[in-house]
């Protein structure tokens, strides 16, 4: 047996460990007698899918077992166990502690579960313990702190939680401590600062909190420090600058604040510095330019300000410079790269700062592969000698203010894969040389001012996957050979001036998922080859002049989710569009589709928007639409649909827009509409609906627009409409409604448009309508049987722009309060029984506004001798005289006013400007309270003043005079 052949020392060690285990009892329940026995216990605890442990048997020498290393020259003294990456699962058996002579355990990269056995703490000879990349749970046992000889401890990429045991600070020989990618919390233990030999410390991707403890300064041998992706706070300690051997420092994605310590510039061995994603402030320390070995510098996503004070000419080894997402301003420094050949800078990310100026300085960085300067304020042109950067793979200049044309030299960048220039002010055409970019995958030119035709050569860029030219001025046809782009997944040409047909070859772009050709001037029919685009999910062709029936092959497109063909001239049946049962949007508004609405539409149970308005659809609304319970928008307006509104639609409880207007629907307005609580717009106008308005509509409390006009509705307007307090527009025109206008409408105080004309409404206009203070577009009560006087309260509708009360039976005089309708620019009171004089303030409206009444006075013929208005002529004379007097007074006042101003200018230093002071002086005319309502300041034109003043009553004139004379008196006193 191996144990009999073992040397003395391990035996003693074994005895010692037995003793130790007795002290640790009862955790050492199964103390193995021998190393092979211990190993077999380890084996029995593991599931071994690859059978790598199959040779582990007492028949063979333990030193020949797979994964076992023995002490050279000795027999049976096991020093190493390496079972890394064999897909082992199960728990690490505590029996492993029986491997008393073991120096190295590597069980990494398996699927081990359960806790790390604390018994490992007895393996005094252990120098290397690698358990990383498993699924171990529980906490890190503090017993590991007993391993005085441990040099390498790597437990990362497990599901360990809890705190980092401070006892690890006792492992004084530790050189590598890897605890990354776990769920460790708490703070970084200060005790780790005792690890003078520690070279690598990886604590990244945990949930550690607190700061970096100052005791960590004791880890004087550190070469690699990563605490990235935690929740660490506080300043970056300046002692980091004393780690003279440090090569890699990764503090990314924490919550560090304050400035970057200049001492970092002392880390002369540093090759990797990553401080991204904290809240660092201040400028980039100039000392960083001393890091001659630095290859990667990432300060992105902080609040760093000031200039880009980085010189790749000094940082001779810099390959990555990432400063995106800060508050940097100014220009790219001229000396960023001193000379093309010497610079190693490959990747430059400056996106999302406030940088300005041109990008010419980058042309010196001859090794550049990626440039991202997007989301800044850069100006100028894309330099024509951009081909001095032949290694360029990614060029992102989007969201800046670049101008000029895309230079033809872009065609020399033969490695280019991503060219993103969108949202700039680029003009000119796409150079045909672009066709030489055989590796180009993404070409984003959208939201520029580019023009010309799309060059045929573009179809040589056969690697293209995404093309987006949205929002330019490209004209001419879509290249006929577009089908060469076999890898194209996205083609977005929306909002250009493209014309001609959709090329037949497009059907060869078999990978196409999204096709947007909307907002162009495309003509012709859809090619039959469209049916080959099996991957197509989103297709938007709206606002073109495409025509004809749809090819039947479209029915083969089973992956369609969004179809928007609105505003074209498509005709014929909808059926080819209904092959997919995954449609979420089917928008075909304003075409010439005919036939019935196929019930198959309802196969797409996830339909959210169904917009078929403005076609020539006939037949009934299919009851199956009631299966579309997620439907939000149903627009079938302006067709030739007939029959009732199907009751099944009451299942569409998420409807926000229901537009069935402009059809020939019959039957009643269904009461169940009241159960559609999400409804914001309900338009049933221009149909042949009969019956009354259901009071239940008052339950649609979110309704903003309600239009039932042009039907045959009868009965009265239910007062429940008054509950619709969100309503903006109410249109009940052209029905046969009777009864009175319910005063409850006053509660609809957000109405800006109210139309009740051409009904048979009777009774008075409720004075309560005067409370609809937001009425703006129109109040139309015309062509009814309304009687009584025009309520004076309508004068409160100060925002109203159009008022039509014509063709009713209104009597009495026009209330002078209507003069307060200062916003009014159209007024129709014609064909009523009104009498008396037109209030002078309304005389600017045409005679047509008043005809068909017993009215007189401008703009109608003057009132007769018996007219009460005529008796005012005496007053008029008085007013004119008074006016002249007032003009004189005003001139005097103006002079006095001026003198006063000059005077008060001199006194400005000492005179307070408060209200009280102003009232005391009176003559300033500046105090708001002194300006009476409705009085006009006419100093600019005495003529217009006297003309308009006639519109006011005598007493108002008097009060103006009174005010002015008071003012004059006050000025005089001053």
């Amino acid at each position: 047996m191996a144990i009999n052949q073992s040397s003395f020392t391990p035996r003693v060690l074994a005895d010692l460990s037995l003793l130790f285990c007795m002290l640790l009892a009862p955790v050492c329940l199964a103390t193995p007698a021998t190393t092979p026995a211990a190993l077999l216990q380890v084996k029995s605890g593991l599931t071994d899918p690859g059978g790598v442990l199959s040779g582990w048997s007492l028949e063979a020498d333990v030193c020949s077992w797979h994964g076992i290393t023995c002490l050279p020259g000795e027999v049976g003294i096991v020093t190493g166990l390496n079972l890394s990456g064999y897909g082992l699962s199960g728990m690490i058996p505590p029996a492993i502690s029986g491997l008393i002579s073991i120096e190295s355990i590597d069980l990494s990269s398996n699927s081990l579960t359960g806790p790390i056995p604390p018994e490992l703490g007895v393996l005094e000879n252990l120098r290397t313990l690698l358990l990383f990349s498993n699924s171990l749970t529980g906490t890190i046992p503090s017993e590991l702190g007993l391993l005085k000889n441990l040099k390498v401890l790597r437990l990362g990429d497990n599901r360990l939680h809890g705190e980092i045991p401070p006892h690890l600070g006792n492992c004084s020989e530790l050189e590598t401590l890897g605890l990354a990618y776990c769920q460790l919390n708490g703070t970084i233990p200060a005790e780790l600062g005792s690890l003078k030999q520690l070279q690598k410390l990886a604590l990244d991707n945990n949930t550690l909190t607190g700061g970096i403890p100052e005791q960590l300064a004791g880890c004087v041998s550190l070469r690699f420090l990563s605490v990235a992706d935690n929740m660490l706070q506080g300043n970056i300690p300046s002692f980091i600058g004393s780690f003279s051997d440090l090569q890699s420092l990764n503090l990314a994605n924490n919550q560090f604040s304050g400035e970057i310590p200049a001492e970092i510039g002392s880390l002369s061995s540093l090759t990797y510095l990553n401080l991204l994603g904290s809240s660092l402030t201040g400028a980039i320390p100039a000392e960083l330019n001393r890091l001659g070995q630095l290859q990667v510098l990432d300060l992105s996503m902080n609040n760093i300000s000031g200039k880009v004070s980085i010189s790749a000419a000094q940082l001779k080894n810099l390959k990555y410079l990432v400063l995106s997402g800060n508050l940097l301003d100014g220009a790219i420094p001229e000396d960023l790269c001193a000379g093309g050949s010497s610079s190693l800078l490959e990747n430059l990310f400056l996106a999302g700062n406030n940088l300005e100026g041109g990008i010419e300085a980058l042309l010196n960085c001859g090794a550049l592969q990626s440039i991202d300067v997007s989301n800044n304020s850069f100006t100028g042109v894309i330099p024509p000698d951009i081909d001095r950067l032949p290694g360029l793979v990614n060029l992102a200049l989007h969201n800046n203010s670049f101008t000029g044309a895309l230079p033809r030299q872009i065609g020399n960048l033969s490695n280019l894969e991503i060219l993103s220039l969108f949202h700039n002010g680029l003009t000119g055409g796409i150079p045909p040389e672009i066709g030489r970019l055989q590796k180009l995958k993404l070409l984003f030119l959208y939201e520029n001012q580019m023009s010309g035709t799309i060059p045929d050569e573009l179809t040589n860029c056969t690697s293209l996957e995404e093309v987006d030219f949205f929002g330019n001025h490209f004209h001419g046809p879509i290249p006929e050979r577009i089908g060469n782009l076999r890898n194209l997944a996205v083609l977005q040409l929306r909002q250009n001036d493209l014309s001609g047909p959709i090329p037949v070859s497009l059907g060869e772009c078999r990978s196409l998922q999204a096709l947007a050709l909307a907002d162009n001037r495309l003509t012709g029919a859809l090619p039959d080859t469209f049916g080959q685009l099996a991957e197509l999910s989103v297709v938007t062709l709206y606002n073109n002049s495409l025509e004809g029936p749809l090819p039947e092959s479209l029915f083969q497109l089973k992956n369609l989710t969004v179809i928007n063909f609105s505003h074209n001239r498509f005709a014929g049946s909808l059926v080819p569009l209904l092959g997919s049962s995954s449609l979420a949007v089917l928008a075909l508004t304003d075409n010439s589709f005919s036939g019935v609405i196929p019930a198959a539409v309802a196969r797409s149970r996830n339909m959210v928007r169904l917009q078929l308005g403005g076609n020539r659809l006939t037949g009934v609304i299919p009851a199956e639409l009631g299966n579309l319970t997620r439907l939000s928008m149903l627009d079938l307006s302006l067709n030739n649909l007939s029959g009732d509104i199907p009751a099944e639609l009451s299942n569409c409880v998420e409807l926000t827009h229901l537009k069935l207007d402009g059809n020939s629907l019959t039957g009643t307005v269904p009461a169940w509409l009241g159960s559609l609580r999400s409804l914001g717009e309900l338009d049933l106008s221009w149909n042949a609906l009969t019956g009354g308005i259901p009071p239940e509509l008052g339950n649609c409390l979110g309704l903003l627009k309600l239009s039932l006009s042009d039907n045959h509705l009868n009965g009265s307007i239910p007062p429940e409409i008054g509950r619709l307090t969100s309503l903006n527009v109410l249109n009940l025109n052209k029905n046969s409604l009777t009864g009175a206008i319910p005063p409850a409408l006053q509660q609809c105080d957000k109405l800006y448009e109210l139309r009740l004309s051409e009904n048979s409404l009777e009774g008075p206009i409720p004075p309560e309508l005067g409370q609809l203070s937001e009425l703006q577009v129109i109040l139309d009560l015309s062509r009814n049987r309304l009687s009584g006087e025009i309520p004076a309260s309508l004068g409160s509708l100060v925002k109203l722009e159009r008022l039509n009360l014509s063709s009713n039976r209104l009597d009495g005089q026009i209330p002078s309060s209507l003069l307060q309708l200062t916003s009014l620019h159209r007024l129709n009171l014609s064909d009523n029984l009104l009498s008396g004089a037109v209030p002078a303030g309304l005389s600017s409206f045409p005679a047509a506004s008043f005809v068909g009444n017993e009215l007189c006075g401008a703009p109608l013929p003057p009132c007769g001798p018996r007219s009460p208005a005529r008796r005012l002529s005496g007053t008029e004379v008085v007013v004119i005289v008074a006016g002249i007097a007032l003009v004189s007074a005003v001139v005097c006042v103006a002079l006095l006013y001026t003198m006063l101003r000059v005077w008060s200018n001199w006194r400005a230093v000492s005179v307070s400007n408060s209200d009280g002071e102003e009232s005391a002086h009176g003559g300033h005319g500046g105090g708001g309270g002194k300006w009476g309502d409705g009085k006009y300041w006419k100093v600019g034109s005495a003529v217009s003043w006297s003309a308009e003043q006639r519109h006011s009553s005598g007493s108002e004139t008097a009060s103006v005079l009174h005010d002015k004379s008071t003012e004059a008196a006050g000025a005089g006193k001053s």
Partner: protein
């Protein structure tokens, strides 16, 4: 470890490239974008902006937004909607807008000068908010404007004299602010009642051309 570093580095570079990278096939239009930018600025406790879905091809089916036949936004009705926040320059991109109704809310910040780009605007109703700062001169470019109601805010500075050029202006209400200087007298201002300017304690009455500085007291 080295693999990890490399992986982290690559992940960083990729994440940056993607984060900064464009969203392909943008299906929104500029007016929708502008309105959505407004939505993002505003706090909306009543959820009146809930229907503002930026993935729709245009904002014409959004509630409180009205389009004309050509799908251009002509009305924005957010009066009395309990929204707060600032207005922002994006609204200046709604170049077809005729009615901008943002009255009776808790809007603060300044009136963006970009509103001067709304050449078709008929009605500018920002009254009863908490707007501060000056009235932008650029509003004098609103040739179609008939109604300007900025009353009951906290606006400061003088009334831009250029407003006298607004020949279509029929109603102006600047009352209950903190304006200063004097009131123009030319153009449409010859007909405005003084109550349109009342309760501006530092406003010094109508301009006396050439006699008193226009900005007197500012």
């Amino acid at each position: 470890m080295a693999a990890r570093v490399l992986a982290a580095l690559l992940a960083t570079a990729l994440a940056l490239a993607l984060a900064a990278g464009p969203a392909p096939a943008r299906a929104s239009n500029d007016e929708g974008d502008a309105l959505y930018a407004l939505r993002q600025r505003l706090s909306d406790p009543n959820g009146v902006l809930q229907s503002w879905d930026p993935t729709l091809v245009n904002p014409c089916t959004w509630f409180h937004v009205t389009c004309d036949q050509a799908s251009r936004v002509v009305r924005l009705d957010l009066g009395n909607s309990n929204v707060s926040g600032s207005i922002g320059p994006e609204l200046g991109r709604l170049v077809n807008l005729k009615y901008l109704e943002l009255y009776r809310n808790n809007l603060d910040g300044e009136i963006p000068k970009e509103l001067g780009n709304l050449k078709n605007l008929i009605s500018l109703d920002l009254y009863a908010n908490k707007l501060t700062g000056g009235i932008p001169k650029s509003l004098s470019k609103l040739d179609s404007l008939r109604f300007m109601r900025l009353n009951n805010n906290k606006l400061t500075g003088s009334i831009p004299r250029e407003f006298a050029k607004l020949s279509n202006l029929k109603v102006i209400d600047l009352s209950n602010n903190d304006l200063c200087g004097t009131i123009p007298v030319d153009g449409p201002f010859s007909t405005f009642p003084l109550r349109s300017f009342e309760n501006n304690s530092r406003l010094n009455g109508p301009e006396l051309q050439g006699l008193v500085p226009y900005d007197f007291g500012c």
